[in-house]
Symmetry: C2
Subunit: 344 residues, 2 copies
DNA sequence: CAGTAAGATGTAACCGCTTTCATTTCGATG
DNA sequence: CATCGAAATGAAAGCGGTTACATCTTACTG
């Protein structure tokens, strides 16, 4: 690979001048610029970005830490962010943290040791304290899908409470009154916020929240299935005509359980999910769910970095995103449903 | 961040010695090694990997190029490879090529400019010629899911022909005789190899291949749906009792189309997919499909790099992976099905 | 046309580490 | 105790850029 020296020699200027045309950092006469560009082309020269990084103390790379890559949520976030960054000439280095505290810390250290200019982190296991204390000095960072008190301007998140509200409100507007809720682990902020929204919606429509219609589960398919079985077993007469699941995976499991019981969706039970994951379109019937604009959020994260770290963008940064309902086939009006039909 | 100089000063040795203990590259007396390690700890020193890269002409990072991140296939590949590499202390930089020739070339240049030590590429749009001519000298690289003639030892792929064979064989063993086939774009090697396997299976069971039972589609859900509609329209009496789809997404679409016609799965039509994508488990009924061991393949790619580039592994490299059938609910024996019932 | 400031270019130090080669240390040997 | 070779260590030259500062050109100005 050609170096900057060879270019400078070929043109007959100093390396500094070549460097200047590479970076546009300072004025170079049009004539020499042209000559340099030509030389670069004929030598097929490409700056060694490692050397650039070392000299400029800028790696031009941003680290992204996600719990895992599979899972539609992370994949979209990752790819959108990467594209935005690459368009700006930045590299994306990624690592997975597996929702494990030690691994997340390790991954951070790993990315830091690569001199990332910034970190975009989706961390589940790290405590607020760790983030506030350990991270603050190291390098610019952004937290995804989470609000760390005191660090709001470094967080990009979804208004989960509103999402929960919307999900339940939709069912209420459809005439449903007894609405079950399958929650994620309530220790997680997003899960509890979604439930909070659910409760607010019930209250807004004058419905009392019924503890017996709530099951706390684990955001997983099997968990959703078990939760639904539990709900269906709680009494001969099914005391609800609709259910909200705090994510689509659990909704998928719940649908299995409902069918296993001989009931149909949506005639016997309407169901609303959360996330609008790809799988929601493959379920049968297609799942009515709450859209999680994760792609946009990934893009926004990239813009935040571009703007705040590289001063490369004027983009307005939005920190809290708004979930919206995606109506599909799994929820219908209460009139159209066979409410209170005996369970299997 | 502390530098190697501060460490060397603190211990009272030269930077060369510190470097030696960092890399274990040459002998250092046990006593000094201990002292150096202690000093590194007290200064919380971490080698600047950028500087290491520049000096050693090794970036310790490998580039991975995938068409896109979403899509279960790429996500799994990516994350498995990343994990394997990270465990070996290597960084993973990724970029997406979007199955576009220009973008793929750009992405390669992008990764090369970052001095990746190796490239793992899943490229759709690049021609064999480009790969053979342009890439060969640049840096070590590995091609995923594709066999470039003459470069077999740099390719990791699935035995698609065998997969197609297995899918069809399964249905044949179940007693099906008239088996439709919805293919991917036959210009793509994997699509045509799968079809080839299908034909071989038919031949092996003494069945004639019927051109009218083949539709070429595009690997997408909507395409699968359209293809199935077309097949169902080809005559009053449905001339097939089962269908093989060259990937799961098309199978999902096909299932929709079958149901739209008022037929049921698997009673009226058995269906087998290909890939074992996550969605296949969410379909109803759950899809019988051919497993694509993509995670393993990603891991293997990482091992190839570790072994061939970093001389860091003794792992045996497998270049061609074997697909296996995953029986689920969407295919049943022909006896149990209502073969040749009139279409809707 | 001398004077001057802005513009263009060059010089060289430096970024933090690796690595070659030279030098020193050390234990074993005769 | 001098000798010798192996082991341990150090000195210094890069790796390929960036950038502060110095210097040289210009184009104006009066």
């Amino acid at each position: 690979m050609a170096t900057i020296y060879e270019v400078s020699k070929l043109v007959g200027v100093s390396v500094a001048t070549v460097s200047r045309v590479i970076n546009g950092s300072s004025r170079v006469s049009e004539k020499t610029r042209e000559k340099v560009l030509t030389a670069m082309r004929t030598l097929n020269y490409r700056p060694n970005s490692i050397a650039q990084s070392l000299a400029s103390n800028r790696s031009n790379s941003v680290g992204i830490l996600v719990p895992q890559v599979h899972g539609p949520v992370f994949a979209s976030m990752l790819s959108e962010a990467e594209e935005e960054l690459r368009n700006a000439g930045k590299f994306t280095i990624f690592a997975t943290g597996l929702s494990d505290e030690v691994k997340e810390q390790e991954a951070i250290r790993f990315l830091v040791s690569r001199n990332c200019d910034a970190l975009i982190m989706h961390v589940d296991a790290l405590t607020d304290e760790f983030i506030k204390e350990q991270m603050d000095d190291a390098l610019p960072f952004l937290i995804m899908n989470r609000v760390v008190p005191g660090l709001e301007d470094k967080c990009i998140s979804l208004d989960n409470e509103r999402g929960g509200f919307e999900a339940t409100r939709t069912l209420l507007e459809m005439g449903h009154r007894r609405i079950a809720y399958i929650s994620g682990p309530l220790a997680w902020v997003d899960a509890s916020a979604r439930l909070e929204g659910h409760r607010r919606a019930l209250a807004a429509y004058g419905q009392e929240f019924d503890e017996r219609l709530l099951v706390e589960s684990n955001f997983k398919e099997v968990g959703g299935s078990e939760a639904m079985s539990k709900l269906l077993r709680r009494g001969r007469r099914r005391p609800f005509s609709a259910v909200v699941c705090a994510n689509d995976e659990m909704a998928a499991g719940a649908m299995d359980a409902i069918r296993a019981r001989g009931l149909s969706i949506p005639e016997d039970i309407s169901i609303v999910g959360f996330d609008n994951a790809p799988l929601s379109r493959y379920l049968y019937p297609k799942l009515t769910t709450v859209n999680y604009p994760i792609a946009e959020m990934g893009r926004m994260a990239a813009r935040w970095v571009l703007r705040n770290v590289y001063k490369d963008s004027e983009a307005e940064i939005r920190h809290v995103f708004r979930p919206t309902l995606v109506p599909r086939g799994s929820a219908i009006t209460a009139e159209g449903s066979r409410d209170d039909a005996p369970g299997n």
